[in-house]
């Protein structure tokens, strides 16, 4: 079934209604990480911003796992170790993505393998461009977009949700990929104002389409800046306030992944993490969850466990981007 398990479904008018139900005025919406996690309901479809090890909304995912959310469907262009966390904790049982492992340098995620091969988790594979166009169709308010890849492949055979058609104008064979409108998007940015006007540095990945496709956006941000500061450079604003439901200030909110201009990935921690969970995807993951996710009192406590030296080293690497 098209869109099966991916969104609340319903008609085009339902999709519009979910936006108009929200307060879209220019109002402050700053909340804590815990309050933001409480806005996510069991069984919802979550679109996750960033890609692979970059600008991953780690703190938000960490908070949602701690809040005990269940049966989430998670969609992201490329999935990395945040996907391990979501599967290992039992928060997510359905992943929609183009690629899932911790990162090329660490080989194949044993956590992903364990959960997918045992049949406990559904892993829907789409090409990266298909993921992008599905979010774009969602952002455009149309039910699908046509594209020219995936045709003839095994990837398409696994995806009955997509449909082939001959173009009514040219006769060309095309693939139609269905819009993906997540219930909620988690997106981490370098800065935004208390209303949710978000500015993003570096690679945007699929985030802007994701933000506009989702029924609501939860923003985490390195820092909250004034609305005046946003208005001084409106050309830098990539997500408008009225798409945003909540704003949380979380410095180093992507750790141990990177945030452009802020920090590079915490490679030492990623090495430790991947060796732990790839050795034993059940016990290793349980150990990580206990110590790093459920253990700390706050996100600052998680960062403390990562270690100040590791964090500062990553931050030094992060600043290099604007100083090359």
């Amino acid at each position: 079934m098209p869109g099966d398990g991916e969104s609340a479904g319903g008609s085009y008018l339902d999709l519009r209604r979910r936006l108009t139900e929200r307060d879209r005025s220019l109002h402050e919406k700053v909340v804590t990480l815990e309050e933001a996690a409480a806005l996510v309901k069991d069984g919802e479809t979550v679109g996750i911003g960033g890609s692979t090890l970059s600008r991953t909304p780690m703190a938000m995912i960490w908070a949602v796992i701690r809040a005990g959310r269940k049966r989430l469907t998670c969609a992201r262009g490329i999935t990395s170790s945040e996907g391990d966390w979501l599967l290992g904790s039992g928060a997510c049982e359905h992943i929609v993505t183009s690629w899932f492992s911790q990162g090329i340098v660490w080989g194949i995620s044993r956590v992903m393998r364990y959960h997918v091969e045992s049949g406990g988790v559904r892993f829907d594979e789409w090409s990266h461009m298909a993921m992008g166009l599905r979010f774009r169709a969602g952002a455009m308010g149309v039910p699908f977009l046509p594209m020219r890849s995936m045709l003839g492949s095994g990837v398409l055979q696994q995806r009955p949700e997509a449909r082939e058609m001959d173009c009514p104008f040219t006769g060309d064979r095309l693939l139609l990929v269905p819009a993906l409108n997540p219930d909620v998007a988690f997106i981490h940015v370098q800065r935004c104002d208390p209303y949710g006007n978000a500015q993003m540095d570096g690679l945007q990945f699929l985030d802007i389409d994701l933000a506009m496709a989702a029924n609501r956006v939860i923003l985490t941000t390195e820092r909250i800046v004034s609305n005046d500061q946003i208005r001084r450079a409106p050309d830098q604003t990539k997500i408008p306030f009225f798409a945003v439901e909540a704003v949380v200030e979380v410095p180093f909110g992507c750790a141990p992944h990177e945030c452009s201009g802020v920090n590079e990935p915490l490679f030492r921690h990623m090495d430790y993490y991947t060796s732990l969970v790839n050795k034993d995807p059940v016990k290793g993951m349980a150990e990580y969850l206990e110590h790093y996710i459920y253990g700390p009192k706050s996100w600052a406590g998680y960062l403390e466990l990562l270690g100040l030296e590791t964090l500062l080293e990553a931050a030094k690497g992060g600043r290099r981007v604007s100083n090359a």
Binding site: S127, S149, L203, E264
Partner: protein, 256 residues
């Protein structure tokens, strides 16, 4: 293997594939050997070659010793000409701006199809691999170069799963499936250089690396390779090629 080689198999792969690139081309590159080879080509005979990264980067400036570990991180953006959404850089493939797609491969078959999704039956996979990423988009839309280690378990008659399409079942099946553009152009391995027959679309030997025999290649391949006439031998990597390459990857992260 030739005795007393003063380069590694990965260095051989990088050098041999860099020679396939031409000045002025726009190359959509994966990380590892493809990126290394494209950057090497830029340092040698292709000053005007442009690299694209899946994360959304046009024309990055790759710093020696600081190769990005994925195509999706800030290191890819340093001193680039442009960053754009990942969807839009992938759409450049569809629009037709890109000359060559350049990737590594886990498993390839006689028609150049690549598998990076499943080992075994997809319904009950023995191993779930990471999946396509942008691989399917690149292989569907542009001419492809694949660089990979030559091993029997990687060169199979038929892949368990077509993640990134080559010529599908050979002949005109690729075009008939709605993929009129692109296709597998070259496969570079540590044993030789391979192309595809114009009619049957089966893989054929184009050249062997120094000291490698046809028998040795066939022994490491899970299907019959076509051989047409005299097979030339590639020129071994030159000192200059190796020097530029080693400067790019001084820690030998990708070329050990």
């Amino acid at each position: 293997m030739p005795e007393e080689r003063h380069y590694t198999a990965s260095e051989l792969l990088a050098v041999m594939s860099s020679r396939l690139l031409e000045d002025g081309q726009i190359v959509f590159a994966g990380v590892g050997i493809p990126l290394l080879a494209a950057t090497l080509a830029q340092g040698l005979h292709c000053r005007g070659l442009t690299i694209l990264f899946e994360g959304g980067v046009i024309g990055p400036n790759i710093e020696p010793g600081k190769l990005p570990p994925s195509t999706n991180e800030q290191r890819c953006t340093i001193r680039a000409n442009m960053v754009l959404p990942s969807t839009d850089v992938l759409l450049l493939l569809q629009r037709g701006y890109v000359d060559v797609g350049f990737m590594g491969g886990a498993q390839i078959d006689q028609f150049g199809n690549l598998n990076s999704s499943f080992i075994g039956d997809p319904a009950r996979p023995k191993t779930r691999l990471p999946g396509t990423g942008g691989g399917n988009d690149i292989a569907s839309l542009v001419q492809m170069i694949v660089a990979m280690k030559h091993e029997k378990r990687r060169f199979v008659e038929q892949v368990d799963f077509v993640t990134s399409p080559g010529f599908l079942r050979g002949g005109t099946t690729r075009r008939d499936s709605g993929l009129p553009a692109g296709g597998m152009y070259r496969v570079v391995t540590d044993l030789g250089l391979f192309g595809f027959d114009e009619e049957t679309r089966r893989m054929k030997i184009l050249a062997l690396h120094p000291g490698v025999t046809i028998g040795q290649v066939q022994e490491n391949t899970g299907f019959e390779l076509a051989v047409n006439g005299e097979i030339p031998v590639t020129e071994p990597p030159t000192e200059r090629e190796l020097a530029v390459l080693r400067n790019l990857d001084p820690q030998r992260l990708y070329t050990s």
